[in-house]
Subunit: 470 residues, 2 copies
């Protein structure tokens, strides 16, 4: 008979001890496959425990498949692998080395959090908790809470000249997810094209989805339509309002040309990534492709991660009617990825005009900061080498360096001085010498004192290069 010492006062309880002892005996081979176990009553008497204890242990062993019962005959040991040891703790690969603590990080491209009205936002959060109460536990529809979609539609109408119905808006936890959904919607057999130069992450998403991907070299107006025809592209991903990193604005002629290209064949689409349009400093916002598209070929995308905070994962896309129908049918089963709480908070923030206020305030602050940074370059030690390019919009601008130093060498030496640089050449898929010596200044998240120090150090590097002292 099975004999185990079970302790009454142990935390894990008698039945669990018994279950573990029998399991250990099965795994060690002490109890062999097919061997009959004592009846519950007999084992209970033998071990001086209750029948319930034994029954619970047997039931657990049965549930896990270690033993099986045969009616009127009793319990038997199942066939299991032996020995079944705990898995060896595999050594985990070390986490990617944490980022260097840069003095100045021109790659960060972040927005500065001191500009965000956190007090107002947290008030909205508290109000949402109070107002929505347990309603927060109810899921929102697949396309997001109506309150938020309505607030977005109103905002777009007033500030972007877009007339869209809340029905057309699909809310998601970041544009990255929306791109993934769009690949599933438009089809992965299609040929996609991204801008060269461009924001690397966008190409990565398409690469990660293993779709045929084309890197289209931009001319002075953006993607050339004849190149799209030549390469057999179906879907283009562009940022016509403000191209990153060149800052280029697509002229109306090219916009029309691309719309014509899209309209010429079924299945051609334009993904209009309008991510930075709120920070245009000169003149009115540029009208969107979406608003002048007559053939339902444009999908508009934008995000709040750039204007509120990257930790707030709310983006949206606007689908033309026929795609909306297809989305509902084929992808409507995907749950909305943003929690209802954050959706209602943002909706309240927008409804009360707080978002608009915030954008206006940010636009002013960034304009002032950009002016200060440009002044700093023009009057500081970098002036000798620097020529400022595209500067009308967005949270970055370009600076051409009149120096013979290679981009690689400049990267290396700047890095040694605590400066993480971004050069225009870093954004090119197709690398050519002609595009070198252009600095991308992402200034939005960097304090002015640090920027000044960073420019000083860069000037020192360029001076050493000019003097041949390395």
């Amino acid at each position: 008979m099975l004999t185990y010492t079970l302790e009454k006062n142990r935390k894990d309880g008698l039945y669990e001890q018994l279950y573990r002892c029998i399991k250990a005996d099965i795994l060690s081979g002490t109890l062999r496959t097919g061997e009959k176990l004592p009846s519950k009553r007999m084992l209970a008497e033998h071990l001086e425990v209750s029948v319930v204890t034994v029954r619970n242990a047997y039931e657990q062993l049965m549930a896990e498949g270690y033993i099986y019962g045969v009616e009127k005959r009793g319990y038997f040991v199942s066939e299991v692998d032996r020995p079944l040891q705990a898995p060896a703790q595999s050594a985990l690969p070390a986490a990617a080395q944490s980022e260097e603590p840069w003095l100045v990080d021109f790659a960060a491209n972040s927005i500065s959090e001191e500009n965000f009205p956190f007090t107002v936002w947290s008030k909205m959060m508290r109000r949402t908790i109070l107002e929505q109460d347990v309603g927060l536990l109810r899921p929102t529809p697949y396309n997001g809470a109506l309150a938020l979609r309505q607030a977005i539609a109103d905002y777009l109408y007033q500030f972007r000249g877009l007339t869209v119905s809340p029905e057309q808006i699909i809310v998601g936890a970041g544009t990255e997810i929306l791109y993934n959904l769009l690949v599933q919607l438009l089809g992965r057999e299609k040929h996609y094209a991204v801008e060269d130069p461009g924001y690397r992450k966008i190409a990565k998403i398409y690469e990660s989805n293993r779709v045929p991907l084309h890197h289209i070299m931009l001319d002075e107006a953006g993607m050339p339509a004849d190149e799209l025809r030549r390469q057999g592209v179906d879907v283009i991903h562009i940022s016509p309002s403000h191209h990153y990193p060149t800052g280029m604005v697509m002229p109306i002629g090219r916009r029309q040309e691309l719309l014509r290209w899209a309209g010429q064949q079924p299945g051609r689409y334009i993904l209009e990534d309008d991510y930075d349009s709120e920070f245009r400093f000169v003149g009115r916002p540029i009208p969107t492709l979406f608003s002048i598209d007559k053939n339902e070929r444009v999908i508009y995308l934008n995000t709040f991660s750039k204007t509120i905070a990257p930790s707030i994962r709310i983006s949206y896309m606007i689908l033309p009617p026929h795609l909306l129908e297809a989305y509902r049918e084929h992808l409507g089963f995907y749950a909305c990825t943003v929690s209802s709480f954050e959706q209602y908070t943002l909706a309240a923030f927008m409804e009360q005009g707080r978002y608009e206020q915030h954008i206006n305030r940010m636009r002013n602050r960034y304009r002032q900061k950009r002016d200060a940074v440009i002044r700093m370059i023009r009057t500081g030690p970098l002036a000798h080498w620097a020529e400022i390019m595209e500067q009308d919009a967005g949270l970055h601008f370009l600076v051409k360096l009149n120096s013979s130093i290679t981009d690689d060498e400049l990267h290396r030496r700047a890095s040694a001085s605590g400066i993480r640089l971004m050069m225009l050449s870093d954004y090119y898929h197709d690398a050519r010498e002609s595009r070198r010596h252009i600095l991308v200044v992402n200034y939005s998240g960097i304090a002015l004192e640090r920027l000044a120090e960073g420019f000083d150090r860069l000037a020192t590097i360029l001076e050493q290069e000019e003097n041949g002292n390395v």
Copy 2:
């Protein structure tokens, strides 16, 4: 000379009026391609506005590509399409008809919100706002906030017997997103397999990703390994702790067999979907495949949407070390999809033992409810036709109906009586007669009174069928 009537006191300002007038003339063809515009100074004098007003209007038109400037010569009209009208407002397709207001919806499979300690949760939310403050604006790492990953690791260690490092955990806004990422991680050329019968949404996600998909018929222990070999499957998606909808628990022998299958060839993986393991009512939780895997072949997934609320979009997966490395390298660029606020709130909820308390309370309530529902079936009018199957775990169980009515007919008649049914046959990819007449009772979100009424109506339908009165 261009002559427009500009009004000083209009809200849109002089420069914007001028910009719009010139744009309209370009689009209407009044100003032709290549035509020279008057100089800024001359137009300003002519219209009696300041030179700045004209300059702003010209700059806006240039930025949008309607005109271009040639140094020392002036401004000219660009080549644009005419006429460029506002897009016709296309009629939107009507939204999918909103759900019928069912008396009883057995398909809903929701959790009831009255069971959630919303007061505690909202306290945690308020505390998170206070404690994290502007820190909430900072993004979390790609794999989620460390505080949350640590809390999950601690929970899994204590309640699921899993020893994992927080480094191995990747947090995402719902398991659906994690499945999408896994397809990108493991490769879309691989052959995936889902359970038949099974939860339809999972198959839909793989279908939507256009990967080779196999529906593997389950035997009495789950997916048979030899069938996987025969069909050339690489990756299986299973829920061994509690299969939906049969409620089946995979015995240890089959678990070992599947682990052996996975270990036999590189590139084979098991996605262990542990979604319902918290609600096992009898005995201890079943050990996970992940915990007995020695070859880094198992990826563990779970979600808080089932245990807290579907509106809280937080799920996670645990990767074995070598996949973790691959994930960081190839998919680490994807930002975490859950806002930092919700991550910190959940972390606090778990750290203070509130999650455990909640799960325990829920388990008791659902056990009581399940017992009441079963009693209701056994003693009510449905008793004559109903035989209760699998009932040890989860928020649903199966009821076999001893009736000749077809599933389709039962669906139709129940629907006419305000009851949305789910039958086991609805979960099968491969439809065969033998699996019919089995009801899937998702009871968790339905009030008992309504359930009683629903069972009454079902009994009436079965009685009519038996008596030949339709």
